[in-house]
């Protein structure tokens, strides 16, 4: 079966899965492997955390990443840093101009502030992160500020910021090249109260390939 999305990835393809709308997903990504995340239908926020496989107290750090690159936005070439100041992964390619890492994950509790108490029972990314991590003994202390692939959070001159209409589209993707052995955790965002998913959560596709993508 030919599949153009796989054409520029090294073989073997170690994993190729559809993550359903609203679902959690986690997998080990070994140092040197590439994790490709594909926004299948467009403007689907993908909340993302990662932990060092060797020591899960070492994990993605939004603040170390921002301080190291002196910029809020994640773009092609951005290096994702751990709380220990170590590179965890590098964005080796992406078809989206920039991704968010300040907006955090939606939660039942923060939804009550943002939209009202009628949203408390809705499914949320923190619920997915807790569910995926709980299988491995990780809990609420491990839910740190995350990355939101395909999510658009501009900051205006007076500091006003917000989740606005996305700049991703059907088939856009991001490639992460692991710089250490990682546990990657995804919440395919179920939020329906703001435009992060175009008000319609949709499936994504995740692929893990050996080595970095072929340079074409």
């Amino acid at each position: 079966m030919s599949d153009s999305i796989l054409a520029d990835l090294h073989s073997p393809i170690l994993l190729d899965q559809i993550v359903p709308a609203r679902a959690a997903w986690e997998h080990v990504v070994r140092c040197g492997e590439t994790l490709r995340i594909i926004d299948l239908e467009g403007n689907q926020a993908v909340d993302f955390l990662m932990y060092s496989l060797r020591d899960d107290a070492e994990r993605y750090s939004v603040q170390d990443t921002i301080a190291a690159q002196r910029n809020l936005f994640l773009r092609s070439g951005s290096v994702l840093m751990s709380n220990e100041g170590n590179p965890m992964a590098r964005i080796c390619a992406t078809s989206v101009a920039y991704h968010d890492t300040i907006g955090g994950a939606c939660s039942c509790e923060s939804n009550t502030l943002r939209y009202g108490h009628h949203t408390k029972a809705q499914h949320a990314c923190v619920e997915n992160f807790l569910t995926a991590n709980a299988r491995y003994g990780r809990g609420k202390r491990d839910i740190v500020s995350n990355i939101n692939w395909f999510m658009n959070v501009p900051v205006e001159a007076d500091g006003t910021l917000g989740i606005v209409d996305g700049i991703s589209a059907r088939g856009m993707y991001v490639d992460l090249h692991a710089q250490m052995d990682l546990i990657a955790v995804i919440s395919n965002c179920p939020q329906i109260n703001n435009p992060c998913n175009g008000f319609n959560p949709t499936p994504i596709r995740v692929i893990i390939a050996a080595g970095d993508p072929v340079v074409t």
Partner: protein, 276 residues
């Protein structure tokens, strides 16, 4: 064998006792109310905390709901990294993303809230004479200080903010996994249109201060270390004065509480939490 008379326990005790009354700048005043320089309008009985934290120092403290916490940048070059936990259940802690997202703004200033990860307000900023703060760049780590100053360990002259926060949190039984993204007071980071972080590092005027109000029972952890974007090759940070005093629980007609829809809901959730 020294010539300090410390060869036997009584001599050693006498030597230790001779230090009584020593005063230096970077130390707590105990009791806090004995400070000769109380905040305006505060009586000594209400003082909870009076401490000056020097370059590279840290401190941590429990504060009850309603308490005021004032940080003063005495010489214009402090950088105070802060963690905040619910002292009753420290699994609830400051959430940097919710703080900026829920309030639709990137900058901390008077009237803004520090929000927890449980939809509640931990602290309000009731006064801000500094207006240069940072919620994006976080603490330095050992690796960063090793690179900039040649050392960054807790036993060096150049301790990094993260490991100072770790010690402050550890005194309450918290550990590495509990070190959430922090606030940096007094050193500012503005965001350019392209997302670039623009550092506002001073040095600034003396005695700028920020005053916070505890909206829940809290553990606050503070570390005074050079900012992670500070490119000075000398480890440069000046002492910060910490004052805290008792205050009333925020009333329902409070202006900050009622300033926005989101703020009111955050206070409603706190009031519900304390309905017991």
């Amino acid at each position: 064998m020294t010539n300090l008379g410390t060869a036997d326990p009584k001599g050693a005790r006498a030597h230790a006792h001779a230090m009584a009354g020593t005063k230096i700048e970077a130390m707590p005043t105990v009791p806090a109310g004995s400070s000769p320089d109380l905040p305006p309008g505060v009586v000594s009985e209400d003082m909870l905390w009076e401490e000056t934290v020097g370059a590279g120092g840290y401190a941590s403290k429990e504060l009850t709901r309603g308490s005021r916490l004032r940080l003063t940048d005495l010489y214009g070059d402090s950088c105070v990294s802060m963690l905040v936990f619910n002292s009753e259940r420290p699994i609830e802690r400051l959430n940097m993303a919710d703080t900026v997202k829920v309030q639709w703004n990137a900058y901390l200033q008077a009237g803004r809230l520090l929000l927890s990860d449980m939809g509640r307000v931990l602290m309000s900023v009731v006064a801000d004479g500094a207006q240069t703060h940072d919620i994006f760049c976080g603490p330095t780590n050992e690796r960063a200080n090793q690179r900039t100053y040649g050392d960054g360990t807790n036993w060096s002259q150049f301790p990094n903010a993260r490991d100072r926060l770790l010690l402050g949190a550890a005194k309450f039984g918290l550990g590495r996994k509990d070190l959430h993204p922090c606030v940096n007071w007094f050193k500012g980071v503005r965001i350019a249109e392209d997302g670039a972080t623009v550092w506002e590092g001073g040095p600034f005027a003396q005695n700028r201060s920020v005053e916070l109000r505890a909206e829940m029972n809290l553990i606050v952890v503070l570390a005074n270390c050079p900012h992670v974007l500070d490119d000075r090759t000398q480890y440069t940070v000046t002492p910060v004065r910490i004052c805290a005093w008792r205050g009333p629980v925020t009333p329902q007609d409070d202006a900050i509480r009622n300033s926005t829809l989101e703020s009111e809901r955050a206070f409603l959730n706190v009031e519900e939490y304390f309905r017991r």
